[in-house]
C-alpha cells in the first residue's frame, strides 16, 4: 500500500509539471467561458447550451488529456531509466501499475472538479442559481475516464507511447459507437457473425453506459439501479484491465 501511495504521489507531481497538461486545461476553461457568451444567439436556450457546452468541455478535454498524457505514463520511467531504480526497491511491480493509475486519476479528478466549479459559476451567472445535478452526469464519466486510463496503461505495458495513445483513442471511439455493433448483430443473418458481434459487444468496454449527459441536461435522473450497475461495471472493468496489465508487467524483462 505504501508503495502504491509513493508511486501515485510521484506520478501526480510529474504530471503536474507537464506543459501539455496546462495547455489542454486552459483550452477546456476557454471553451467553458466561450459558451457563456453564446447566450444572446441561443433564442431562449441559453440554459441548455451552457450545460451542454460545459459538460462537453469537461468530458472532451479531460479525455484528450488522458489520451495524450496517459500513453507515456510508464514509458517515461523507461526513457529516464528510473524504472531500474524503482524495481530494485521493495515496491512490487503491480504496485507501480496501480500507483500510476491512481496518481493520474487523482490529477484528472482535480481537473474535473475545478472545471465543474467554474461551470457552476457560469450556470449561476446565467440562471441565477447553481445546478448541482450536473455533478451526477460527471459521476459515471469518472468511470469512463478511469477505463481509458486503464486501457492506456494496459497497452503501455507491451507497446510504445504512440501506439498506446492511438489505442486509447480507438477504444474511446469504439466505446461510444459499440451500440451499433449490437444493431449489426441483431440484423445479421450469419450465425457466426452474430456470435462474434454479440461477443465483441459485451466484451469491449461500452462507454455509452457512462453517458447520461443528455438525461441530466433535461433534468432526468436515472434510477438507483443504473448507478449501482454502472459503478460495478466500471470498477470490475478497471480491476480486470489493471490486473492483466500487472500480469504482463511482472513478466516484462527490462533490457
Amino acid at each position: 500500500m505504501k508503495g502504491i501511495i509513493a508511486i501515485a504521489k510521484n506520478t501526480f507531481k510529474e504530471l503536474v509539471r507537464q506543459k501539455i497538461f496546462f495547455i489542454i486545461v486552459i483550452f477546456g476553461f476557454s471553451l467553458l467561458f466561450i459558451s457563456f457568451f453564446l447566450y444572446p444567439l441561443s433564442v431562449g436556450e441559453q440554459s441548455k447550451i451552457i450545460r451542454d457546452f460545459g459538460l462537453s468541455a469537461i468530458t472532451f478535454f479531460n479525455t484528450i488529456l488522458v489520451i495524450i498524457v496517459g500513453g507515456s505514463l510508464l514509458h517515461k520511467e523507461f526513457d529516464k531509466r528510473t524504472i531500474y531504480l524503482i524495481v530494485t526497491t521493495p515496491v512490487e511491480r503491480r504496485e507501480i501499475i496501480i500507483g500510476k493509475f491512481f496518481g493520474f486519476l487523482v490529477l484528472i479528478l482535480i481537473n474535473i472538479i475545478g472545471m465543474s466549479i467554474f461551470h457552476q459559476i457560469l450556470i449561476f451567472l446565467t440562471d441565477g442559481k447553481f445546478d448541482l445535478k450536473i455533478f451526477i452526469a460527471l459521476y459515471p464519466f469518472i468511470f469512463e475516464i478511469s477505463i481509458i486510463i486503464s486501457i492506456l496503461i494496459f497497452f503501455s505495458t507491451f507497446t510504445g507511447v504512440i501506439f498506446s495513445a492511438f489505442m486509447g483513442f480507438i477504444f474511446y471511439v469504439i466505446g461510444h459507437l459499440i451500440e451499433s455493433l449490437k444493431l449489426f448483430s441483431e440484423i445479421s443473418k450469419s450465425l457466426f457473425l452474430k456470435i462474434i458481434s454479440y461477443f465483441l459487444y459485451y466484451f469491449l468496454p461500452n462507454l455509452e453506459h457512462f453517458n447520461i449527459k443528455n438525461n441530466i441536461v433535461y433534468g432526468e435522473i436515472p434510477k438507483k439501479e443504473y448507478f449501482l450497475f454502472s459503478t460495478s461495471y466500471g470498477l470490475i472493468y478497471i480491476i480486470l484491465l489493471l490486473y492483466i496489465s500487472s500480469l504482463i508487467f511482472e513478466k516484462k524483462e527490462f533490457k
Binding site: 453564446l38 444567439l41 441561443s42 433564442v43 431562449g44 436556450e45 441548455k48 447550451i49 451542454d52 457546452f53 459538460l55 462537453s56 468530458t59 472532451f60 474511446y172 471511439v173 461510444h176 459507437l177 451499433s180 462507454l207 455509452e208 453517458n211 449527459k213 443528455n214 441536461v217 433535461y218
Partner: protein
Amino acid sequence: MKKFFYVFLLFLIVINLSYRLDEIRGVKEKVEEILYLPKGEILKYIALDHRNTLSDYFWLLFIQYYGHHLQTDLQFPYLYPITDIITDLDEKFLHAYTFGSVNIAHHLKDKLSVKKLLMKAMYKNPEKWEYPFWMGFLNYVFFKDYKTAGIFFKLSTFKKDAPPVCYRFYAFTYYKKLKNLEIALKLWEYMYNSVKSEVEKEIAKDYIKRTIMKIHMRDLNILIKKFKEKEGYSPLSLRELLEKGYIKEIPKHPYDGYYIIRGDTVESIIPKR
C-alpha cells in the same frame, strides 16, 4: 511595451485580412453547409458522446440563418432539413421541435413537414404531452384541420403530467366548438404565454391581433345585418351603429388601423408599416 505594440498591430492586421478574405471569397451562410453533411442519424455516430453539443452548435447556426432571412427576403427553404438534423442529434430538444414546426407552418405553410417533424418528436418522446398538444395546436390554427386537431388534443390528455390546458382544448373540440375564433384566440394567447423566445412571442402576438381583427369583423358584420333588417338600410358608418345603440363603443383596431363599412360589409384598413 514596443513588443506588445507589435503583437497588437499584427493581430489587427490578421483580423482585417480575415475580414477582407471573407468578402473576397464570398463566404456563404454556414447553415447551408450543414445540408452537405450526412444525415443527422449518421452525424450522431460521428459526434460520439457530444451529440447535444453538436446539436446546440447547429441550433446557433439555425438561429443566425433564421434571423438573417427574417430581416431580408423572408425565404426559409431550409427550415425543415436543418430542424430535422438538429432533432436527430438531440431527440429531446423540445424548443427545436416547437420553434421549427411553428415557423414551418407560419412561413412555409408546409403541413407535411410539420407532420413529419412532430411525428418524429412523438415517436422519440412518447411520454411527453407537449408534442401531441403542439400538433393539435398547429392543425387548429394554421391548417384548419379541426378533426386532426381534436385527435391530437385528446392524445395529449393521455400523457402523464398533462396540464389542464390539454383537457380544455380537447373539450372545445369534443363539443364541436370548431372553427371558433375565440378558441383560436385562446390557443394563441396560450402560445404567447408559454413560449420562451421573443421571435415566437412576436409570431403569437401577430396572430392574436389577426384573430381579434377577425372577431371584430365577424361581430360587426352580424350587427350590420341586424341593423339592415331593423332599419331597412345599411349603416353608413360605425358611428351610426354606435349612435343607434347597436354597439357600446367602436372596437379598437389591433393594428392601429380602422374599420369602414362598404356596402353591407365591414372592411379593415391596416396602415402600411
